[in-house]
């Protein structure tokens, strides 16, 4: 079943056509990697999928609904979780309160002005933290976390709405090789146990070929190849884009 369907998506910044007519599908429960050299238009493409940037033309269909002009908060409500290239968390809060904020939003409990938030959804928050392995750090300030742990926290935030699709922009950027492997494993485990689809961009090819069911390759704003890891390895266009041969 097709969950996300992208049709002829285009975006230009000034005179610079960054994304040109990109189309692809992501099926429910599928893990798809979007790769390409620097400047290929991956991140722009990504930011159009969850409403950070509006596309110039083209369509984004999620579960049959056209969401191209929707704002990020509405898209999240549909069940799309997001991880950022540079971990975005709430720096002044404890790790648990980060997740609590997401749960308040999920349960539409944000507009309550007098009851202390500190007692709300604690169990649910701790369960999420347990899934990403942050239980020991739950009461710590987010500002004291190592970068790998921040990325885990991001995944917990992205999972807080029981998403059907996770959009993760470079989950392992800026991490040590050990951390990279661990976060990739975590992403894979989360996806498999919850059954949610994952679309991720990544420079770390190990991760890509290890966990992706299917790979999309972009170069200069265009989708140049698409297929399973084995097919992509041998694709002539991909070799040309990356290796110049």
């Amino acid at each position: 079943m097709t969950l996300l369907s992208v049709r002829k998506l285009s975006k230009a910044f000034g005179g610079n056509q960054v994304v040109r007519g990109v189309s692809f599908d992501v099926a429910a429960g599928e893990i798809v990697a979007l790769i390409g050299p620097n400047g290929a238009g991956k991140s722009t493409c990504f930011n159009m999928l969850n409403g950070q940037i509006g596309p110039d033309s083209g369509e984004v269909l999620f579960d049959g609904m056209s969401i191209g002009s929707w704002s990020p908060d509405r898209i999240w409500r549909l069940g799309v979780g997001r991880g950022f290239q540079i971990a975005a968390t709430f720096g002044s809060m404890t790790v648990r309160d980060n997740v609590r904020a997401a749960l308040l939003s999920r349960h539409r409990a944000v507009w309550r002005f007098f009851r202390p938030a500190s007692g709300l959804f604690t169990q649910e928050a701790d369960a999420l933290l347990a899934r990403v392995g942050l239980t020991p750090l739950a009461s710590q300030g987010c500002g004291t976390l190592a970068y790998g742990d921040l990325k885990r926290l991001e995944l917990a935030l992205a999972m807080s709405n029981q998403p059907r699709l996770l959009l993760v922009d470079e989950p392992t950027a800026g991490m040590t090789p050990t951390d990279r492997g661990a976060v990739t494993d975590l992403l894979l485990a989360l996806a498999r146990e919850s059954g949610c689809a994952v679309l991720f961009t990544e420079h770390d090819t190990d991760a890509v070929f290890r966990i992706a069911d299917r790979i999309l390759v972009m170069d200069k704003g265009v989708l140049i190849a698409e297929g399973n890891p084995a097919a992509i390895r041998t694709n002539a266009l991909v070799r040309a884009a990356y290796l110049g041969v």
């Binding site: 409500r77 709430f90 944000v110």
Partner: protein, 601 residues
């Protein structure tokens, strides 16, 4: 047709001085990222120094030009001195501290100027060659204003040439676009900053001296011009000289035609235009500088007060409740003032702490509350409790409307807009004499009823502060802090930062309004000074003194600041000078922010 043309020319000439000043402000901001609150003072110094020079020179055109240039150069020198002694130390500080420190400079100059030139307005008698009129479209138009019209485009062309064609201009553009990269490529930012500050100050001085033949040098011109210049720079786009030119034309024409069409509503008209421009183009007409959001100092979580602190607090409340029986009237009055100040500070704290928004115009809500109360009492003959209820309602509703327009803006833009709005409320209070009594104010706003007024104040203070603290600890409070910490992440978990902030605006405005209403009854009167910039700065200083990161901070700050202020008022008539120097000293001594409470070794 003739009338339109003449009004158009009037608008053109009126915009010149504003353009010069705003251009100075905008180039300084472009390179140093400092919003120079003292820019209006440099403008004022230009007028005063120009007066001193021009009244001593022979009355002929060449000497006039020479005098004008000399005055501008003198102000440029003052600007350079200011930059090397003070501003240089501010570049790495959060923008709020830059605004505060330069505001301190403005206060100091405000007290020093009358010392040097006397308290009276100084008109410059127009020499004969400047007095003439020229007949255009069958109407008389002052010759001086016609000359003035030419100055704007000349200076604009000069600045654009400087920016586009010279090596110095290239460096300025490089720093405006990307400071860090320019520094990495070896541009000496210290020297460049000094020169650019001198240039900006010189432009402000030029604006000040050129306005002399049309008005007189006076001690109010600093504030009025800085507010207009803020509007121009925000509308034109920060850092854009051409934008400043277009925006000052727009404002000049609006004023020229507005005074004929809607004499009472000119300021409101300007604000509406500004709101429209900013909602269509959040960075102004030609602005492109991506502004960082509010400086993220080391943020710590807001924690509910400890048990011991809470017991102490309630103990203090009980003790205060008995105060009317044993405290001398004077000290009871001081205590009342402290309580009201605490409400005001807590209101502002909600915006600045959890909300992460700088308000440089919180006096607007304080004043609207005060006028709301007084007018409900006077025109509706309502009893005091109802009048007090009107205060938060009036202020809160208007704050919600205003917030709806501005919450998408961040940092300096927001600070400037809140200031501009407060000035509009102030001008309305001054000019709408039929409703507000103008400078004479509204008198006879006395409390009534069997219970001493102090208990009303104490009760409402406790309720308001407890409510604000609960809001910060609530679900909503957590979401608001989330939006402050990371807007992209907040959106990505389904929160709506703009709406959260608008509500914070309304709540904060309502609480500040309540403080204003209480203050009206406490003083028995309401004056436009309740809405003046000084009141907004009072609030900022209280919040910063006490610390932004805690719930108790604003209360401590209110107590400390009210004490300091009363002390200054009692011991010196030069309280602006003393306050200004205190602010500068505080900012320099606590470079990491008073809030952090950390002192540099």
């Amino acid at each position: 047709m003739d009338f339109l043309a003449i009004q158009f020319l009037t608008g053109l000439s009126g915009s010149v001085s504003l353009f010069l000043t705003s251009a100075g402000l905008t180039v300084i901001f472009g390179v140093t990222r400092v919003v120079n609150f003292a820019h209006g003072s440099l403008f004022m110094l230009g007028a005063y120094i120009g007066w001193s020079i021009l009244t001593r020179l022979p009355h002929d055109p060449l000497w006039f030009v020479a005098g004008v240039i000399a005055a501008a150069l003198a102000v440029a020198a003052i600007g350079a001195a200011l930059e090397t002694t003070l501003l240089r130390r501010l570049y790495r500080l959060p923008e709020l501290f830059q605004l505060l420190a330069t505001f301190g400079v403005m206060l100091v100059i405000q007290d020093v100027t009358p010392l040097l030139w006397g308290p009276n307005d100084l008109p410059l008698p127009r020499p004969p060659w400047l007095r003439g009129f020229i007949t255009i479209f069958g109407a008389h138009f002052p010759r001086y204003d016609l000359i003035l019209i030419a100055v704007g485009p000349i200076v604009l062309a000069g600045l654009l040439l400087l920016l586009a064609r010279t090596r110095f201009g290239m460096l300025i553009r490089a720093c405006t676009e990307n400071r860090d990269m320019a520094a990495a490529l070896g541009v000496d930012q210290r020297r460049l900053s000094t020169i650019i500050f001198a240039l900006g100050a010189g432009l402000a001085g030029l604006g000040g001296v050129l306005i002399l033949p049309d008005t007189s040098a006076n001690t109010q011109m600093d504030l009025s011009v800085i507010v207009e210049a803020f509007v121009v720079v925000v509308v034109g786009g920060m850092g854009s000289v051409t934008g400043a030119f277009l925006a000052s034309l727009l404002i000049g024409e609006l004023q020229a035609f507005g005074i004929v069409l809607l004499p009472k509503a000119t300021l409101v008209l300007i604000f509406v235009i500004m709101a429209v421009v900013l909602s269509l183009k959040p960075h102004g007409l030609l602005g492109s500088i991506p502004l960082a959001t509010i400086h993220q100092a080391t943020r710590t979580p807001f924690r509910p007060a400890s048990r011991r602190l809470r017991l102490l607090g309630w103990g203090a409340v009980v003790l205060m409740a008995t105060a009317p029986f044993w405290l001398p009237p004077y000290w009871l009055s001081v205590l009342t003032e402290v309580l009201i100040a605490a409400v005001f500070a807590c209101a502002l704290h909600l915006m600045m702490g959890p909300g992460g928004m700088i308000s440089f115009g919180h006096a607007a809500w304080f004043g609207l509350g005060a006028y709301g109360s007084a007018l409900t009492l006077k025109t509706l003959a309502a009893p005091m409790p109802l009048a007090l209820l009107a205060a938060p309602v009036v202020a809160g509703v208007i704050a919600a409307l205003f917030g709806w327009f501005v919450v998408r803006l961040s940092g300096v833009y927001l600070a400037m807009l809140t200031l501009a709005f407060a000035q509009i409320v102030w001008a309305t209070a001054t000019q709408w004499t039929r409703l507000t009594g103008g400078d004479d104010g509204i008198l006879g706003v006395w409390p009534s009823g069997p219970v001493p007024f102090f208990w009303w104040v104490l009760g409402l203070t406790v309720v308001a502060i407890r409510l604000l603290q609960r809001v910060i600890g609530s679900s909503y409070g957590l979401a608001l802090i989330a939006a402050r910490d990371s807007e992209p992440r907040a959106l990505a978990i389904g929160l709506r930062p703009a709406r959260l902030r608008m509500v914070a605006f309304a709540l904060s405005g309502a609480a500040a309004g309540l403080a204003g209403g209480l203050f009206a009854f406490k003083s028995g009167s309401v004056f436009p000074t309740y809405v003046a910039v000084g009141k907004s700065v009072d609030g900022l200083l209280m919040v910063l003194l006490g610390g932004i990161e805690t719930l108790i901070g604003p209360i401590v700050g209110a107590v400390a600041y009210t004490g300091l202020y009363d002390l200054l008022l009692q011991t010196t008539s030069m309280w602006r000078l003393a306050l200004g120097l205190t602010i500068i000293a505080l900012v320099l001594l606590f470079p990491d922010g008073l809030a952090g409470g950390r002192r540099r070794p």
